[in-house]
């Protein structure tokens, strides 16, 4: 049960949140201009990082805000969370120390 730091409400249990997958995938400005391959990239291709990963969460049972979290997908350590539109905190080195 993760303890997630909502930038507004503070630390709350994972059950109050909804997961939103990889962060910083901006919707293309003009989808019509894209090739099918590029559109498929946006729709489906994901980085799925092993290690420190920028991801989105929604505090769905709390303040209903979307925000970003940097979490290690190996250790589940959370480095920090930040509001939409803010710059991510500096990432620790790529992967976690656990197996």
């Amino acid at each position: 049960m993760l303890n997630i730091d909502c930038p507004w409400c503070g630390k709350r249990h994972e059950t109050e949140f909804h997961y939103g997958g990889e962060a910083h995938i901006a919707r293309p400005e003009d989808p019509a201009k894209l090739e099918d391959t590029e559109w498929a990239e946006f729709l489906f291709m994901r980085t799925n990082t092993k290690g420190y990963f920028a991801e989105r969460w929604l505090h769905s049972h709390g303040c209903r805000r979307w925000f970003n979290v940097i979490r290690n997908t190996v250790t589940h350590d959370i480095v920090g969370s930040y509001k939409m539109g803010e710059k991510p905190p500096k990432l620790p080195k790529r992967t976690g120390d656990a197996k």
């Binding site: 993760l2 939103g20 250790t75 656990a98």
Partner: protein, 1005 residues
């Protein structure tokens, strides 16, 4: 029966309170404070069960959670429970228990014949056989294997007990209430932190409850009592005994099972919560979980009466029981000598101490010698005998490093063997919390390394094996934990004077050979007592190429049992390390996983059963529906009236009646469950333009429009009508099931993609109760309720709304229709819903107004060819597939989903498209989900052309109707299509989906 093995005094039992209990049908007496195990031992009962594979007699080995044998079926009837360890059952009046997996009984078990086939039933043997003839596996072999499967039995009735959950936040959680844990809790508590201390045992004190120690001015019991009293007096310290921390999860989240009534006689349990799972979020965790003693692995080390030395000491000191009167101790360390000394002091006879170390010396050794106990140093037990109880041991002098011992054998008679192979710190929770273990050569055990979470370790877990170290270590851990959570610890109290023996050294001794190599002859060296895994099995596994400790575990089943290898895993990996000639830390352990000890499903489910497994959502009109005989359909979490059968009516008849009432007069539907979202802000219209497939900018104030929403992949995801309340304000409705996800969807786009849009969304679903009236008489009913409202078609046209008063209630009335009839949806504040409904029923009485449910609604809309998202769509359906191109804007440069429509597959002309179907025989109602083919007369696999999404009998049309998704369906109207069903094939014609009132004339009544 007399308690022949009860000591005359001592122990923490209450000799004044005798307790009657029954084991395997025989009545016995024990005392309050006993466990089932100690009470049985007091009565001389050692044989509790049989082993899994060979059905060898097995007895009690330990005194606590680590016990590998002695699983019993506890209780009877609805409250019976399988596989409970006798060492963990507090004795209560009327307790009944019996051995598991034995037939006909534990004394004479037919399956013991398996022992004869032991040579064949080696590890993994079933992989190598039972393959021929092929059909016999399912017919014979597997059923036989299955019959042997399992230990105890699940009850056959529903559990009458109550379970629940609790959540707690503390700064410091301490696991383990032994001397280290008590000190840690004290330090953190005195510093002012909120503290939780848990211990799985019936009382605090841990291993100190089994020992004789002087701590300052107090004996062990006095010291424990003082500690407990001080902790209890602290308001923010929570103490939970009989509470096992069974899981340590991410971010210092721990789960604890509290057994609240399992120690009480049945009559005192009634109405109380039986077990409670505590969910703890802790700032810091102090693990003080102690250490488990390890057995020694020697020939036929599994007979009843062969026990861990520390456990013998526990039975003697804590329970006042002599597990045997003639004991042999077999050890590789000094500490175990205490068991011999204490047993002797309590009236038992220690016939010999077999110490596999060649040189022994020290305080405890001297003390044993002083009691005239014979000490055979440099000796080992190389065999045992006895049927249902050990009767003698064979001992031989050890030749260091030898694979077999050729020295002369000596028989020693005994009725109890105490053994000690050293100590394994209880690293389970530490390891669950992702901490890495480090092997300590000197202490011969794995110890916690650097923790991965906010955590301290103390006591025997941390390798602090003396009481003195435990007290100091415990206090430090508690103080450090408090400091780390922002508290200032009090000054450390002066260390009390402690009398305890010097422990001396330990010499690793992982496997004890005999006169023949391991695996030869009939002797068995058991490693995992529960799964009958022997040292020979491990050797065989390695021989066959299984070298990883994980493979060994899975091939030999070591550590796979209900004890999860608490006493066997370390021995197994050490033996493996010997065979592979690889150091122990390189071999490594298997993974420690929750739960630390088994947890009942009931406790884990807590109160989340029945109606609480998932909230039941109801409208404010619900009770009326119940009273009027509605049957309900679950729609998401909602209960919606499905239909309202009258007495004696079949479903078919009820639906016909309801539908015809709407078509011919007027019907009424509770539509309160539709999602409602207030959308407001200067960019609201622009926002809708991007979210819906159609255009919204020009919608007039007071008007309503239907819209379709797609995901980015172009597939339909929700639909509904949206009204323009003001220039900058809309009220959106969503499907019942989609309400929450649509709101999330809107917020996601507003917050993450288009933060520049000035739009606020507010859910108002339960602000408004919605009563929908439909049918040619709908206007007449509304007129009666809202005489001031201008209902003329000019001033209240289709797809518009009005605010006003209906039945004296402030209301909003929408002229929209899901049935094709003249229809009004009246919204009033939720808590006035019932009042409105009753007013509508009263006003409609003269027109025979008929309440209808979701099923009739489905029929009525299907007659009109209207889709239901989730029924006509399945996540692969575009608006075009539904024939709804008309609602997809060609002009808007972009909206969600648009880009995906031009992908090669989404643009394919032969996609599955929505059509109507009319069966050749009008009475044939196709099953929903029927698959359709163009040619039924080809062999399987038959190419499929689509499937039936909706299908009903239409009373209005006097025949069956259906909607279907059919390949290239839009271009196939008039063609035949076939539904091959079980036993018959139904022929149908592909038609337009709109089957009733194609011109839409009825909309105006």
């Amino acid at each position: 029966m007399t308690q022949a093995f009860r000591t005359t005094s001592g122990g923490r039992i209450d000799r004044r309170k005798a307790i009657n209990f029954t084991f395997n049908g025989q009545s016995y007496i024990g005392y309050e404070g006993d466990t089932l195990a100690s009470a049985l031992l007091a009565n001389g009962v050692h044989l509790l069960g049989r082993s899994f594979k060979y059905h060898r007699p097995r007895g009690i080995v330990a005194a606590g959670a680590e016990e590998p044998n002695s699983m019993v079926q506890l209780g009877e009837g609805a409250t019976t429970e399988p596989n409970i360890r006798a060492t963990q059952i507090s004795l209560y009046e009327g307790l009944t228990a019996s051995s598991v997996n034995v037939w006909p009984n534990v004394e004479f078990d037919i399956s013991a014949i398996n022992g004869l086939f032991a040579k064949i039933m080696t590890a993994g043997f079933y992989n190598k056989t039972f393959m021929w003839p092929r059909s016999m596996w399912m017919k014979l072999y597997e059923p036989v294997i299955r019959r042997a499967a399992g230990w105890g039995k699940a009850p056959t009735q529903t559990d009458p007990d109550i379970y629940d959950h609790m959540h707690l936040h503390v700064e410091v959680m301490v696991v383990g209430g032994g001397p280290a844990g008590l000190m840690a809790a004290l330090a953190a508590g005195r510093a002012g932190a909120r503290v939780l201390l848990v211990d799985e045992q019936s009382e605090f004190g841990g291993s100190l409850l089994s020992k004789k120690r002087q701590i300052g001015a107090k004996d062990e019991a006095g010291w424990i009592a003082d500690m407990a009293a001080e902790l209890e007096a602290m308001p923010d310290v929570t103490l939970l005994s009989r509470s096992t921390a069974f899981g340590y999860y991410d971010h210092n989240y721990l789960c604890v099972l509290e057994q609240k009534t399992d120690h009480l006689p049945a009559a005192e349990r009634k109405g109380k919560v039986r077990q409670r799972v505590w969910h703890i979020r802790a700032g810091q965790v102090v693990l003080a979980t102690g250490a488990h003693e390890r057995p020694l692995v020697f020939a036929d080390n599994d007979r009843p009466g062969i026990m861990l030395a520390g456990s013998v000491q526990t039975y003697v000191n804590r329970y006042g029981v002599l597990p045997g009167k003639k004991m042999v101790l077999f050890t590789n360390n000094d500490a175990a000598y205490e068991a011999a000394i204490d047993l002797q002091a309590a009236g038992g006879d220690v016939v010999a101490i077999i110490d596999c170390r060649h040189e022994v010396s020290g305080e405890l050794v001297d003390a044993a010698r002083a009691l005239d106990i014979e000490i055979l140093a440099g000796y080992a037990i190389t065999g045992t005998s006895g049927g249902k109880r050990v009767e003698s041991v064979e001992v031989r002098a050890i030749q260091k490093g030898a694979k077999v011992y050729t020295s002369a054998a000596r028989q020693i008679d005994c009725d109890l063997v105490a053994m000690s192979g050293g100590w394994s710190p209880v690293v389970h929770l530490f390891s669950q919390s992702q901490g890495q273990l480090e092997y300590d050569e000197e202490k011969v055990c794995f110890l916690p390394g650097k923790p991965r979470q906010a955590q301290q370790v103390a006591g025997a877990l941390a390798g602090q094996f003396t009481l003195k170290e435990c007290l100091a270590g415990g206090y430090k851990a508690g103080a450090d934990a408090a400091r780390a959570t922002g508290f200032t610890p009090k000054r450390k109290p002066a260390a009390p004077e402690i009398e305890e023996p010097d422990l001396g050294g330990i010499e690793p001794f992982w496997i004890v050979p005999g006169s023949r190599p391991i695996g030869e002859g009939m002797a068995k060296h058991f490693v995992d007592l529960q799964n009958d895994t022997t040292a020979a099995d491990i050797e065989l596994a390695v021989r066959e190429g299984f070298e990883s400790v994980e493979h060994i575990k899975r091939y030999t089943l070591t550590g796979f049992g209900t004890d999860q290898g608490k006493t066997s895993n370390i021995n197994a990996l050490a033996i493996l390390s010997g065979i592979l000639d690889k150091p122990i830390p390189k071999v490594g352990t298997t993974t420690f996983r929750p739960p630390y000890t088994p947890v009942s499903y009931g406790a884990l489910a807590g109160r989340n059963l029945g109606d609480w497994s998932d909230p039941v959502r109801v409208t404010s009109i619900h009770d009326w529906h119940v009273e009027n005989g509605a049957l309900f359909e679950n729609v998401g979490q909602w209960k919606r009236p499905w239909y309202f059968p009258k007495a004696g009516e079949t479903m078919h008849e009820a639906l016909n009646r309801e539908c015809l009432a709407v078509r011919n007069a007027v019907g009424v539907l509770d539509a309160s469950t539709l999602g409602k979202i207030d959308i407001r802000g200067p960019d609201a219209a622009e926002f809708l333009n991007r979210i819906y497939t159609n255009a919204w900018a020009k919608l007039g104030i007071g008007r309503v429009r239907y819209g379709l929403m797609c995901h980015e992949d172009g597939m339909v995801f929700d639909d509904g009508t949206t009204a323009r309340l003001a220039e900058d304000r809309f009220l959106m409705t969503t499907t019942t099931g989609g309400a929450a996800s649509v709101l999330d969807w809107l917020e996601e786009y507003l917050q993450t993609e288009w933060p520049e849009l000035k739009v606020y969304c507010t859910s108002v679903t339960e602000q408004w109760a919605t009563v929908s009236i439909a049918g040619p008489k709908a206007g007449a009913v509304l007129k009666k309720l809202a005489p001031e409202m201008d209902l003329s078609h000019e001033n209240f046209p289709f797809l518009s709304f009005k605010e006003g008063t209906v039945a004296g209630l402030k209301a909003r009335v929408f002229r929209i229709s899901f049935t094709g009839e003249l229809s009004y949806e009246i919204n009033v504040p939720w808590a006035n819903g019932l009042a409105l409904w009753e007013a509508v029923m009263a006003a409609g009485a003269e027109f025979d107004i008929t309440p209808y449910g979701t099923e009739s609604m489905h029929i009525l809309r299907a007659e009109k060819g209207f889709i239901i998202v989730g029924q006509e769509t399945d996540g692969t359906t575009t608006p075009q597939d539904l024939g709804m191109d008309w609602i997809v804007s060609k002009k808007k440069p972009d909206f969600i989903g648009k880009r995906s429509f031009t992908r090669s597959d989404t643009a394919r002309p032969d996609r599955k498209q929505l059509v109507g179907l009319l069966t050749e025989t009008p009475d044939d109602v196709l099953p929903e989900g029927a698959q359709l083919v163009f040619d039924p007369n080809v062999p399987k696999p038959i190419p499929m052309a689509g499937h039936v999404t909706s299908s009903y009998y239409s009373a209005a049309l006097g025949r069956s109707i259906a909607l279907a998704l059919v390949k290239g369906g839009h271009g196939r109207k008039g063609q035949k299509i076939f539904a091959p069903l079980e036993g018959k094939t139904v022929t149908a014609e592909i038609v337009d989906p709109v089957l009733y009132d194609k011109e839409g004339e009825r909309l105006n009544g």
